[in-house]
Amino acid sequence: CGILYKQPIYQGNLMEQTAVEQLQAGMSMQQVQALLGTPSIADPFHHDRWDYTASERTDRLGHIEVKTFTVWFDNGVVSRWEGEYFPEQDQALAVRMAQYGNLSKDDKKKGR
Amino acid sequence: CSTVKGWFGGKRGETLKPAELTEFAPSAKAQKLWSARAGKGEGRLGARQGPAVADGHVYAAAVEGGVRAFDLQTGAALWQHESELPLSGGPGAGDGLVAVGSLEGDVLALDAATGAQKWTAKVGSEVVAAPAVGQGLVLVRSNDGRVTAFDAASGERRWFWERETPTLSVRGNGSPLLGPGLAFVGNDDGTLSALALADGRLLWEQTVAAAEGRSELDRMADIDGTPVLDGTVLFATSYKKQTMAIDGPSGRPLWAHDAGGPGQVAVSADRVVVTDPDGTVWGLDKASGAALWQQAALARRNVTAPTLQGDYAVVGDYEGYLHWLKLDDGAFAARVDAAGDPIRAAPVVADGILVVQSTGGEISAWRLGQ
C-alpha cells in the first residue's frame, strides 16, 4: 500500500554522459575502469564482460527500475558496448540526499 | 588488625610540612623604624617585587597602587604616581629616574624627585624584574628572555638582545646588572651573558649550571637573581644549586660550588651567602667558594634571597618573618614578625636601614639596635 514510507534504495554506479561518449573499442580494462569506474556487476563466470547495472526505487509504491550498460571485452580490450543508464541527475540527488541531514565534523568526532 | 588500620590511616597526600620555627637566644635586636603601604601587593604572582632605594628615598610599586616614594629615614610619603598599569617589575632607580615595568609589557619612567611621568615604552612580554637604570640607559629584562635598552632621557629604544627560554623555567627573572660599559644578564638556561652597553653586542658568556637532566623539571637551571659585582669579581647563582665566581672583564670562572638557588647572592667582605630552593641558607668562603656553614632550620619555608645588614645576613619567609643570621657561623641572631603576608622579595639595605616589601604590599623599615 502506498502510505507506508519506502526509503529510497539506489544501486550501482552513477554514469556520466561525457565519460560514456569517450568509450572506444580497443581500450584496456584499466582504461575503462578509470573512465567509468569499477563496474557494479563483474560476474565471476564471465571474465569477458562488465555490467554497469544500476537500479532505483524512489516512489511510494516501491517500484524498482533497473538499467544495465554492458561492456564486452575480447582478450583484454573493449570489443563492443550497449545498454542504457540513468541520465545524470546530480542536482536532484544532492537535494534528495541533503534531506537526510549531514552531521557536522565535530559531531562525528565525539561519536555522537 | 593491621588491615583495619590501613583503612582509616589514609595519609592525605603525604606532603612534607614547612619546618617549625626553633627557639634561640637572640643576640641582636631589630627595631621597626616605620611602615607604609605600597598598594595592593603581588599576592602569588611570583614577581618577587621589592622596593628600590636611591639617594635617601625609597621607591615602591604595586600591581594596584601605582608608584610611591617615601623618605628612607622617616618613611614620610613624598609623592605618589597613580597608574592603571599592573606594575609588577621593579621599580629600579638611578640618575634621578624611577623606571618600572608592567604585566602588559609597558615600561614607565618617572622623575625621581616629583614622580611626574617622563616617558613610556613597550616590550614584548610581561616585566617581572626591576629595570636597571644607569649610564644614560634603562635596561628592561622581559619574561621572554629579552633585554631591551631605552635612552634614559627620551625613552627611545636603543637596542635589544634575546636569549631563547627553555620549555619550562623557574618563575621570576633577575634584573640586569650595570657594570663599567657593560651589563651582566642572568638567563633562564643557566648561562650568564655580558653585553656591551653601547650596542648590546655579546661580549662573553659563561655557563653557571648546565641544563641537563632526564625531565624538563631536572633541566631547570635558571639564574633568576641579579648577579653581584664585587670589585672585578662577579658572583652568580643558579636554581640548579650552583654558585660561581667569575672574573668580570674576561668571563673566566674563578671557582664554583654546588650550592645555590633562584635568588640573589649576598657578598660581604669574606663571605658569599645564598639561599637554596629547599630553604637552606649557605655561607660560602668568598675566596675559594668552600661551604663554611649552612642554616637548614628554615627548610621548606620559601626563604627569600639573603641581604647583608651589618655583619648579619637577613632573609624573609612565607609567614612574613625576618631572620637575622650571623655571617660568621649562620646562627640565628634576631627574628621579627615583619608582615602579615609572605615575603618573597629579598630585603634592600641602605645607610644601615633595611627595607622590606611583603606580597601584601606592606613596606617596613628596620634598624639593628645593640
Partner: protein, 808 residues
Amino acid sequence: QTASPFALPAPAATAPILPGTFTVSDIRVDGLQRISAGTVFTYLPVERGDRLDRARAAEAIRALYKTGFFEDVRLDRQGDILVVTVVERPAINKLTLVGNKDIKTDDLLKGLADIGLAEGETFDRMNLDRVTQELIRQYNNRGKYNVVITPAVARLDRNRVDVTIDVKEGKAANIRHINLIGNEKFDQELITDNWESRESNWMSWYRRDDQYSREKLSGDLEKLNAFYLDRGYVDFSLDSTQVEISPDKRDMFISAGLSEGEQYKLSKVELTGDTVLPKAEVEKRVIVKPGQVFSRRLLDLTSDAISLTLSNIGYAFAKVDVLPEVDRAERTVGITLNVIPGPRVTIRRVEFKGNTRTSDEVLRREMRQFEGSWYAQAAIDRSKVRLQRLGYFETVDVENVPVPGSNDQVDVVYTVKETTSGSFMFGVGYSQLSGVTTSVQLSENNFLGTGNRMSVAAQRSYYQKRYDFSFINPYFTDEGMSLGYNLWWREFDYSNFNVAQYSTNSGAAQLVMGLPITEWDSVSALFGIDSNEILAFRGSSPDEIVDYIDAIGNRTFHTWRGQLAWARDTRNDYFMPSVGSYQRISAEVALPGSTAEYYKLEYEYSRYWPLSPALILRTGVNLGYGDSYGDAVTRDLCYTPPTPPTTGNPNPPPPPPPSDPCIAGTSPDYVKTVTADGLPFFENFYAGGISSGGRVRGFVDNTLGPRAASAFGFSRPVGGSVKTVGSLELFFPRLFDTKAARISAFLDFGNVYRDWADFDAGLLRASTGVALLWRSPMGPISISYAIPLRTEPFDETERLQFSFGGQF
C-alpha cells in the same frame, strides 16, 4: 635520587675466556633453574659443529641477554665443549604499590605488566629504573611535580624477590596566572573563554581545570591562533610563550606574547576546479562575500559545505583547497576556492563491529546507505543517527575503509558499543507510594538481540496486583511497519494511591501497529477490548464517583478502544539527544457500544536546544483533554440508607428495596437525580510526581488537580479531564564522562482541571530542582530533589522522589 638499595652485583658481562676459534663438538648449559635448556638452545645462535670465534661468541652472549631471562651470561671452553654458564634473573614473588592515590593501583599494575614487571615475571633491575622514570613522567604529566618514588626490592629464597614501590605524590601544581601580552583589540577574558587551562578558581576543586598539562596548553594556543584568524587578523603571530613553575613547584605561570597585526577584509572570492554541480548551485554554499572581514572559520565552513554536498553524490574524497593572496598594502585577501572532487566512489560492503548481542539484521535494517550503491555521506550520517536512536548502544562510530587495490571503492564500518537496553527488577521493593512490593519485571528493548521490545511484569503491592505482558516487533515488515500486542490484568485500589477512595479490577487485550510515513513521521494505531470493574461505596468513595456509577447503572465498564496517533521524531540520540524534537498527537476513543462513550486527546512535544557542547536545554509540554460524546445519561435514585448498628440494636432490619420506577419528587424514598456526563473519572488525567506523562516533580504522585470530598469528609484528588503540564530542563552532558548517567536542573509546572471552564493559569503548580538519571545494569534509576515554588494550601509536596525501572 632514586637510589635502589638492591644488593645484587652489577651484571658484569665478563669477557669470554675463549682463545682463538674451534669447532663446537657439544654444548652444555650450567646454572639453569627455571628456564629449560630447550629454551636456551632456541635463542642460542650456535649449534653443534659450528666454528666459533670471538665475534660469534659475543653475538651469542648478546642474544641470550636479549631474552631478558638472564642476569649474567658467560661462555667457556672445556676441550671442544662449549660451556654456557648463566645466572637466571630472580622471579617476582609479590609486587605491591603504596601511597598512589591519583593513579589507581590496577591501572598502574596493568602499566607495569606491559613493561614486564608483574608477579611471576623475571625481575630485571633495569626495568625497575625504567618503571620509576615512567611513573615520575606520568605524575609530572598530571601536574604533580613534587612526586617522590622509591622502589624497594627484598630478596627471598629460591631466587625470588618481593618488589614494593612507595609513591609520595605531593601536591599538584596549579595554574596560578595566565597572561596574554599584546592583545590590544580584544581583552583576555574573551580570548581565553574556551580554553581548557584555567587559573585556579572556586570551581577548580571539582573541574580540576587548573591542572597544567602540555597537551592542554598546546590545544589552547591553537585556539588562540584560530580566535584571531577567525576575525580577520591574517598577520597574527604568537611571538613567545613562557611556562614557568614557582621554586616550590606548586604554582604554574603561563604567559604568551603576541602581535595582532591588522584586520584584513576579503577582496575577491573565486570558485575554480571541477564543481560537478552547476557553478551557480555550488556558489550558493559560499558564505563568504568580498568586503566581509576575513574569517578562517567561515572559510572552513564554506569548504566543508561544498565537500559535504559533493560527498552526498558519490565523491567521498572531495575536498576544497583555500588559496589566499594577501595584499598587505590594501590589507585585503583574495580567496580562490579550488574544488577537487576526486573519484566517484561506490560502497562495496557495510560491516558492523562490536555487536556481540545484537543481530546483524537489526543494525542493517536501519541503514540508509546500501552496499553496491554510490557513496552518500548524508545517508551514512543518517544511518549513524538511526543506530543511536535505537537505544541499544552507548556510542556509535563510523569510518570509511578504502578497499585494497581499488581507488573508487570503500567499505563502511560501524563500530558500536552495546549497553543495557532494558531493565530487570526482581524481588522485594519498597517505595513511599506503594509500600512493600513483591514483583518481577523484565523489560528489554532489544530482547535476545533481535530488536524486539518485550516486557513481562508480575507485581503485587499494597495497592495493586498487576500482570502485564507486552511485545512489539518494530520491523514486522522489512520497511519498518511495527506490530505488537499488550495483555494485562490489574486489580487497583486507588484509595492507597493518594487518589479517590475506590478500587478497580481491569483487564485488556490490545493490538498495536505502527506505520512509518516519512523518514521522521509515523502513524500508530491501537485497537483493543478491555473491561474495568469499579468498586466504589457511598460513604468511603467520593459522591461524584458513586453518582457517576449510579447514573450509568453498571459497575463494569466494557470498552471497545481505538487509538490513532501521529508522531514526528527528529532527535539524534535515545538517551542524551542534543538536537531535534519529538512531538506526538493521539486521539483515543471508546467506540460506540462501549458502556461509557468518550474520547481522549493528548499532545506531547519536547525540543532539545544545544546551547553549547556542555549545555543542552529541553523544553517540553504535555497536554490532554477528554470528554464524552453522545448525550448524557440521567437517572433518579431512590433508596433508604441502612440504619447504622447501635449498641442497643446491634443488627437493625435491612432497609426496604428502592421503589421502582423511581420518579423524582413523587417516590417516597427518592433521594436525588444523577447525571453521567464528561470523561469518566477512571480515565481522568493526573499530574504530580516523577512518572512521565503528568510529571511535576516535588508533588506527591497524582495528587494535583481537583479534589472530591467523600462522605466522611476528607478530600481526595480525583484528577481531571484537562491536563496542562510542561517543563524546562537544562542538561549537563559533560559532568559525567559516561553517557550512562545524566544530571539536569529543571523547572516543572502544570496541573489538571475538571474542565475547560476551570482552567486558570494562576493555579498552575511549579517546582524547580535537580534530577539524576542513571542507566544502571539493573535498569534506569531516576532520583530528583525538587523545591515546590507555587503551591496551594492543600498540596501534598514531596522533595525527594525516586523511581526505578520506569521509561525515560
